[in-house]
Amino acid sequence: MIIGSNAAENHPISFKWVTRAMEKGAKLISVDPRFTRTSSKADIYAPIRPGTDIAFIGGMINYILQNEKYNKDYVVNYTNATFLVNPNFSFKLGEFSGFDSIKKVYADKSTWKYQLDENGIPKRDITLSDPNCIFQLIKKHFSRYSIDAVCKITGTPRDIYEKVLKCYPETGANDKSGTILYAMGTTQHTYGSQNVRSYSVLQSLLGNMGIAGGGINALRGESNVQGSTDMGLLFHILPGYLKSPDKADKTVDEYAKKYYEEKSKDPKSADWWNNGRKYLVSLLKAFYGERATAENDFCFDHIAKLSGNYSHMSIFEDMNKGIVKGLFCFGQNPAVGGPNVNFELKAMEKLDWLVAADLWETETMDFWKRPGALPEANATEVFVFPAKASMEKEGSITNSGRWMQWRYQGSDAPGVAQTDLWMINQLMKRIRALYAKEGGAFTKGVLDLEWNYAEEPDCHVIAKEVNGYDIKAGKLLPGFAKLAADGTTSSGNWLYCGSFTEDGNMAARRIKEDAPNKIGLYPKWAWCWPVNRRIIYNRASVDLSGNPLAAQKWVVKWDPSAMDGKGGWIGDVPDGPWPPMTVDPEKTKLPFIMRPEGVACLFSADLADGPFPEHYEPVESPVANYIPNGCQCSPAVYLYESQKTAFGTSKEYPIVATTYRLTEHWQAGAMTRNLSYLVELMPEMFVEISEELAASKGLKQGDIIEVSTIRGSIKAKAMVTKRLKPFNINGKKVHMIGVPWHWGYSGLAKGQSANNLTPHVGDVNTRIPEFKAFLCNIKKGVEA
């Protein structure tokens, strides 16, 4: 099932594998507001109004629960369906218990907790009948998502939705697999994280996690987004998904106890994050080297502590307030890619300086001379760093399957273009030299850094540092099991420990030899985190005795004769060495080792907007929320001060708009709108519109269409197509237009930016902007 993704267009290489699976008999379901190139290949195309994924999936969950289509053994053994929740947990008027209606946050999550027995272990009811057990709670929660309600919300024709209900739940059988591909169509909503949660609930009910051909697969927005996220590029995480410390966390000890230690008292839970202290200390040793000692708490006070939200929109909000005075953009083009870009451009005008590194001159570098701007009135100093493209440098790329693949330099870069590594190295070297001479704010933090790279830094040195060392022996570590909390080891990213060992660069391996289970794992091709495990949570693919649930495509199995008769796992690298439940009930561990409860979560207290996914409408929606929960939008949505009046209503803006990418261009277009062959394929900004809506507005193929929202307006070519159709939403006809967002005012192919239209509001958990569903109006325009 491809939902929230247009894999054929935006990840064409991934479609090689979809095509192969279909040749072997796989069925493809495409759920999309538009009939795309992906939909054209699907067995079932289900149209869906933008922003209604949770209703669509919620209806599937309800159908599966009501008709007992779930994989019962899997649900009982490997999910938290049997766990009992605090009896005071409730869901009323669209709010889960614990909501602070003044602060608009779930301030008190105590009622979302498990009931514990006298040993502190979660209480369970394996009959699934206790009214407080998660199975009963989820059944009740989704009972409101009837086929009728779902189709009224999503606009999916009932007969098509019924086909989906008939098809997908069949993957709940042990010998069948179902996989979900998703992308930004899922995440770019005010409840984007909950959209993803709904997929993981669905997949867990069907036993589709940890198996061959299962999972929920994020098709990332850029080829190395996985790698950059792993390395802690986002503000709320350090490398290896360690939590960014809060300003209240004063010491390593406080930090480790607060986030990682003793989160489970269940002897069957491996609770792998219990090792968090070792990973943090090893990271600090990689950052600060000899200067990080037990006496100075490994320089913990040097690393940045959170005192707020530093996501994209928050940065621009602070820029607008004059708090953020300088901005570095590496391969980022917010002047095209940012939400409500008119607002963001005005915020950028308040910057003292801007540094932008890219392959070509981008709209961000040119923002001061953009159409309508007064260059002489703008005091921002702009520095441009010409950058090398990925093919012009050596290094690693980590794909969506967590494979770290080493790449050699393919060609030389033009002119003085440099790698990001070179730029950061030079910048830091020069800053440190200045600090050494003159001092400045945070001097010790800057000078304590371990920064001994050569003038021309070698990426192998960095890769080794990321892997980590046994410091005393001066040897590269073979894996993260060797990491220690006492300062004797270093590792720039614990998840990558094992990627570059004394045996060499594992990511550079290219051995075409499959694993014994012959399911295409190719364990000696590149390297996969963690510990070269190709399918995570793979011990969920076996029964309690270690026998594969699907014999013909087994991932791991327990072999009693392995390890000289002591027994061991064969196949993929297992999620831990522990024996199966029936083999050794004392030593066994539950399969979902990164969760304190050891099982997959149908109910999760970790999210900021509720333990179950719930359908809410986008902040700008054409209809009232049909699910009778009393809330139009997610009650926990954060509204930025500058944006309080930046939302339109369906009265003035009755048409739904959604933004997306095309095969032919890349992101904000900096890399592709300057390539003449790609410009030839997709030369001009356009807007897709249904035949019916076009006729009602007097628009013909190739006419100029003017699209406006409360935030701005754009002109583009009209592309009138059969692939868009109005939705029937509870009897009301709702029109939608599609707006690709690649164009801007610089480069070889210019056009107006879709983000002049989009709202500056985002997901409750991640603050990813709601690019995928907002309101607009359209009219026939004249050439600008």
């Binding site: 054929a8 267009e9 064409p12 290489i13 479609f15 090689k16 095509t19 009939f35 795309t36 190139r37 992906t38 939909s39 054209s40 290949k41 050596e394 050699y408 330099q409 192998h460 095969t663 032919e664 003449s676 062959y677 790609l678 410009v679 030839e680 394929l681 997709m682 030369p683 001009e684 900004m685 356009f686 193929q701 190739g702 070519k717 009209a718 592309m719 009138v720 197509t721 059969k722 692939r723």
Partner: protein
């Protein structure tokens, strides 16, 4: 070498147009100054600088929307109308084993009235003003001669394009057609057997906007060449391409040894 043909399997085509770009890059063809004309298809047609393109169409069949894509290109006819029409000896070659028909450097518009353009029943043959000669898909003979596939085929991510032995390709196409007929009753193979390109279509050929065959332009006249007779220039190109490949390998080794 066994006789080769080109198979375009539209059941696997995702309309990504990697083939279109690969063709331009390999053949060093100029980009066209296009405009959005209401379709993803661009340029709108083949030209002196566009040897191949993916055609897009939206049709309703049995009340269901179909979004169809297919690569369009020279058919490399067994009895090429362009070659028949061309009055200049050796200007249009047919390499029998590869099934490739291509324009050579002997093409000289001062010696003809561009009869080849009208001679092609599918309006594939075009004139390139800059090069001052007729242009169309060459089937990358310099690649084929060294055992590589054409540039478009190499690029195709899903395997919609394949180039191989005629018997095998025809067999694959026929088997797949039988399967496709069950889902799409109007699926068909296009064309018959006298081209070196077979399309496996999931709908009627006209729905893909592929040109109708105009049989009146066909004349029967054997005019084929064998491997030994293909113009020297392509053999040299091929050798250079192979040389380039081995150079790449050497460079990779060099980089690796440096790192050690």
């Amino acid at each position: 070498m066994k006789e080769k043909i080109f198979l375009i399997d539209t059941t696997k085509c995702i309309g990504c147009r990697g083939c279109q770009v690969a063709c331009k890059v390999w053949n060093n063809l100029d980009p066209e100054d296009t405009k959005n004309w209401g379709s993803y298809q661009n340029p709108g047609n083949m030209s002196g600088t566009t040897y191949t393109l993916v055609r897009f169409s939206e049709v309703i069949e049995d009340g269901k929307l179909r979004f169809l894509f297919s690569k369009d290109q020279c058919r490399h006819c067994a009895m090429p109308g362009c070659a028949d029409a061309c009055p200049v000896e050796g200007a249009i070659y047919q390499w029998k084993e590869a099934g490739a028909v291509f324009v050579t450097e002997k093409c000289d518009p001062s010696k003809c009235r561009k009869e080849c353009l009208a001679g092609c029943p599918f309006e594939v043959m075009k004139f390139n003003e800059k090069a001052n000669r007729a242009h169309k898909c060459r089937l990358c003979p310099e690649r084929i001669v060294v055992g590589a596939v054409p540039a478009c085929t190499k690029t195709c991510p899903t395997g919609a394009l394949s180039f191989g032995d005629k018997d095998e390709m025809v067999k694959i196409a026929e088997q797949k057609l039988a399967e496709m007929k069950k889902i799409y009753p109007t699926a068909e193979l296009y064309p018959g057997t006298d081209w070196h390109v077979i399309w496996l279509l999931t709908s009627k050929q006209e729905h893909y906007h592929l040109a109708e065959q105009n049989p009146t332009l066909f004349k029967k006249k054997e005019k084929m060449y064998h491997l030994a007779e293909i113009p020297l220039a392509y053999a040299i190109f091929g050798a250079a391409f192979l040389g380039g490949l081995s150079k790449l390998k050497e460079r990779k080794k060099e980089i690796q040894s440096k790192k050690k």
